[in-house]
């Protein structure tokens, strides 16, 4: 198993800094995700790891060896392309065997390994088809087999599921996770789909404008985002701007809608700093009557229901707080409506649900 290190990588494409002084440490055997909106530089970074681009500055290391100047055909990476890139003039079998042929693997060996790779992705029965006769999902699996058959040091996946329909996408997530477990190889997976990343990743990096904003486990990034961008990009959130008043075992933030108590922040903050408070819609609890404050529900905001949307498994309210601030609240498994449009309500949340973020990072 091979670890991948990116040291201060910069890449300019045209006039744009696609990747900007990026550092990453990917551990051996990890299923690592690069997540970000389109144009954030994640595919550019992946292509540099594959060797299709060379970094303008910085180094890429595989297990400590500098591979920045190694051409793509000598890197031992296995890439799955977004459009699969199956060669239309070859059968499924020939597509998978091509790399072995290029490495002059003996025929008997070739046969065995292609067979095993096709078995792994459950495509053995289609071996003699040509790519045009396969569905998108099948092509996807052939592309995966082709990337895996050479037992590459690193498997690179460039938005592999983006061309599949929703049901198939869910199915393939499980397949890829299973395959990762079976082959025990480092995988780097690029996507803009946060639910893909949250459900599959060992660890993930969120990218924005060519830089890594935060690295961590899915749970880390969802519950403890370090910037407003991460908070808003992964899941939905309400951002309330305010000013830090008190630090200590609990932070207290003065906002236009009232004072919020929050758990200590990961970023270094001092009294008087401009901050954002991020509260997930599902973290709010909706009450019709003002409750007595307890130790766990210290935050209580009065508001008025502006609109309600019923979505089956949950119900989404938009609440108007003082100063015309609007927040979203989600109630899961809604058997009955808690409040109707126009009613006065109270929003409760615990300090652990309020994440305090530095304000200037909002547009980083």
């Amino acid at each position: 198993m091979v670890g991948v290190t990116c040291e201060a990588i910069t890449k300019v494409l045209g006039d744009v800094k696609a990747v900007d002084n990026l550092c990453l440490e990917i551990k051996p055997g990890e299923l690592f995700f690069l997540l970000g909106p389109s144009g954030c530089g994640k595919t550019t970074m992946l292509r540099m790891i594959a060797g299709f681009y060379q970094p303008d500055a910085g180094r890429i290391l595989f297990d400590g060896h500098d591979v920045s100047r190694v051409p793509p055909h000598k890197r031992h990476t296995g890439m799955v392309f977004q459009n699969y890139a199956l060669w239309p003039h070859m059968t499924v079998w020939q597509n998978v065997a091509y790399g072995l042929r290029m490495h002059k693997v003996p025929d008997a060996d070739q046969h065995r390994r292609v067979q095993r790779a096709l078995d792994l992705v459950q495509m053995t029965v289609y071996a003699e088809r040509i790519p045009n006769q396969l569905s998108g999902g099948q092509q996807q699996r052939v592309a995966l087999a082709r990337a895996l058959v050479l037992e590459p040091d690193v498997v690179l996946l460039d938005e592999p599921l983006s061309n599949l329909d929703a049901q198939l996408r869910l199915d393939m997530r499980q397949q890829i996770t299973r395959i990762h477990g079976e082959i025990q190889r480092t995988m780097i997976y690029v996507t803009h789909d946060q639910s893909e990343a949250l459900s599959m990743a060992d660890r993930m990096a969120v990218m924005h404008r060519g830089r890594v904003v935060q690295v961590g486990t899915p749970r880390d990034l969802y519950t403890r985002p370090r910037t407003a961008f991460v908070a808003a990009f992964i899941g939905e959130t309400n951002l309330l701007s305010g000013q830090l008043q008190e630090t200590g075992s609990l932070l207290s933030v003065h906002t236009p809608v009232g004072v919020l108590q929050a758990a200590p922040a990961s970023a270094k903050l001092t009294t008087g700093d401009a901050v954002h408070c991020s509260v997930r819609p599902e973290a709010f609890r909706l009450c019709r009557d003002a409750p007595a404050p307890t130790a766990t529900t210290v935050n209580c905001l009065p508001g008025e229901v502006q609109s309600i949307m019923y979505l089956g498994h949950h119900e989404q309210y938009v609440i108007r707080l003082p100063q015309d601030t609007l927040v979203k609240v989600v109630e899961n498994n809604p058997l009955v409506r808690t409040a109707e449009v126009g009613e006065q309500v109270y929003l409760l949340c615990t300090p652990q649900d309020v994440v305090v973020l530095p304000r200037e990072a909002a547009n980083a």
């Binding site: 890439m79 459009n83 890139a85 790399g99």
Partner: protein, 565 residues
């Protein structure tokens, strides 16, 4: 690797190739042109316009220039009149057998006009088939001078009947591109019929029209073969041809060539400006309305009559060539009075004809090989690499489209005389190079289209599993663009076989005559010369038709795109 080379993905191999290419273009395109210019403008080591003053003041040369312009203008006009209604019928009506009709439309283009002219002369001569037929039927009492003005009308007819498919392709594409909702909007405010066409549809087609018109105009303006066959000497092309023999004594030849170059450039610039300035963004199509309607029975009849009628007319000269090649006796009669195959026998027995066929096969094969190699490499670099000067390379590879063969060949004769490549000593190298330079744009376009259709990721996927760049090219890229390459190669080969102006000008001794020059030489001979020439012409047509059919099989519907501007 230096930063700029990394940025532009330039391997040493690519750099070396670009360098060699630069030398090739400089030597065989720019240098001959510069040489011609130098000789036209420099008199006794000083810049002078004396030849041009002479050319424009001398009444004889003035007539010659005016004749050439008139010829080109008349040809363009006639092709427009033929093609516009046909394009309208074919684009706006859905009719059974449209593919077949479209094939018919392209047929005349593949028939070499050089050969057609021979037949046309036979048909329209003072005592040619047409006049004799009309006399026999009693419609006229005296033969009519169809060729008019010493052959002017005949040339216009032959060229128009050869070139209208080019106009048609461009007009049809332009018309198909006009958003039907724009016409509907015009109808909605009260325009209809011809008025609608004149005020909305045609103005929207103008860029396409000009693209076609400029090709036709320049082709007719610089065509050498047709006027030569009609023995119509007062046009620039023929003048230049005759001046090749005394190229060192008479600098007027250079001046004429420069004039052709300048006029060609001006025409292209004007049309580009016109086309460029008026490229309309058609509206986005929300609700796609189609202007195509099913042809009624009557309309179907009209369409078939129009297309087949024009095609038949265009093929008439070639039919006449076939008849000539088969005729034992054809003298003062509508049709030959006796038929024979002996002329075909003579083609393979006669030393001049046999040698010329061998020469042409040899020259065309080598020039095609050169085209294929250069074309693949240029197209690949254009499609797959980023580098400064890419636009220049593209322009250089496409320049021969705008460069009349006449100009290039004349430049070669002058620029390389006294060197290793002197055409009077041995024209073979220059013939090969001129054939391939002139057909390079077709090859580059064909290969480029192939590379464009082949996603880069297919190559990257191959690199990713360990195949080096050359092995990727061999295993992945070339197999995927193979059909395009074959089509391009077939086109280059067949056009080289029947190339006229380069062959006539560069091949100066009988030993090196290619087919076209041999045909020309035979025509000048009395007795059976014209018959054998016709037989060779028929063989040439058969070859061209067969190879274009093959190319069409490989390229399918995209064939027409090669002939559009």
């Amino acid at each position: 690797m230096p930063r700029w080379r990394r940025r532009y993905q330039l391997t040493p191999l690519t750099l070396l190739f670009l360098l060699l290419l630069g030398v090739f273009f400089a030597l065989f395109m720019l240098y001959p042109l510069a040489y011609v210019c130098a000789n036209a403008f420099v008199v006794q080591e000083r810049f002078s316009l004396v030849f041009f003053k002479l050319m424009l003041t001398n009444p004889t040369t003035r007539t010659i220039i005016v004749n050439s312009l008139n010829l080109a203008l008349a040809t363009t006009l006639v092709t427009t009149l033929i093609s516009l209604p046909l394009a309208w019928l074919m684009v706006r009506y859905e009719v059974h057998g449209k593919g077949l009709l479209n094939g018919c439309m392209l047929l005349p283009m593949i028939m070499p006009p050089f050969v057609g002219a021979i037949g046309m002369r036979q048909l329209l001569a003072r005592f040619g088939s047409l006049n004799l037929l009309l006399l026999d039927l009693g419609f006229i009492d005296y033969p009519i001078d169809w060729l008019g003005d010493g052959g002017f009308i005949g040339i216009v007819i032959v060229e128009a009947l050869h070139l209208y498919p080019i106009m048609y392709l461009n007009l049809a594409a332009a018309l198909a591109n006009v958003d039907p909702s724009l016409e509907e909007a015009a109808r909605n405010v009260g325009a209809s019929g011809l008025k609608l066409f004149r005020t909305v549809t045609f103005p929207l087609m103008l860029p396409g029209y000009f693209a076609g018109a400029i090709l036709v105009f320049i082709w007719a303006f610089t065509d050498l073969g047709t006027p030569l066959i009609f023995d119509y000497r007062d046009v620039i092309a023929v003048q230049i041809f005759t001046m090749v023999t005394d190229i060192h004594e008479n600098p007027m030849g250079y001046a004429f060539v420069v004039l052709v170059m300048l006029l060609t450039l001006i025409f292209f610039a004007v049309s580009k400006r016109f086309v460029g300035g008026r490229r309309y963004e058609m509206l986005a199509r929300g609700h796609v309305v189609s202007a195509v309607q099913r042809a009624s029975f009557d309309m179907t009849l009209v369409i078939y009559l129009a297309v087949l009628g024009v095609t038949a007319l265009a093929l008439l000269p070639h039919v006449s060539v076939v008849l000539t090649s088969l005729s034992g006796r054809w003298f003062f009669s509508v049709l030959p009075t006796a038929y024979t195959f002996t002329h075909y026998g003579s083609v393979f027995a006669h030393p001049l004809t046999l040698l010329s066929i061998k020469n042409s096969l040899f020259l065309s094969s080598l020039s095609t090989l050169l085209d294929v190699l250069l074309g693949i490499a240029i197209a690949y670099i254009l499609a797959r690499r980023q580098f400064p000067g890419k636009g220049l390379l593209d322009a250089m590879a496409m320049l021969p489209l705008a460069l009349p063969g006449l100009v290039l060949a004349f430049g070669y004769i002058g620029a390389f005389s006294g060197t290793l490549l002197d055409a009077r000593v041995n024209p073979v190298p220059l013939l090969i190079i001129s054939y391939s330079v002139r057909r390079l744009p077709y090859m580059v376009r064909a290969a480029y289209a192939g590379f464009q259709q082949t996603s880069v990721t297919l190559e990257e996927a191959s690199l990713n599993v360990g195949a080096g760049p050359l092995r990727t090219l061999y295993h992945i890229t070339l197999p995927l663009v193979f059909a395009h390459l074959v089509a391009g190669a077939i086109l280059s080969f067949s056009f080289a076989m029947l190339e006229v102006s380069d062959s006539l000008i560069l091949a100066l001794t009988e030993r090196y005559y290619p087919i076209t020059k041999a045909i020309y030489a035979l025509l000048g001979r009395l007795a059976d010369g014209p018959y054998i020439a016709s037989a060779m012409g028929v063989l040439g047509m058969a070859l061209l038709a067969a190879s274009l059919f093959l190319a069409g099989r490989f390229l399918g519907r995209r064939m027409g795109e090669l002939f559009r501007a």
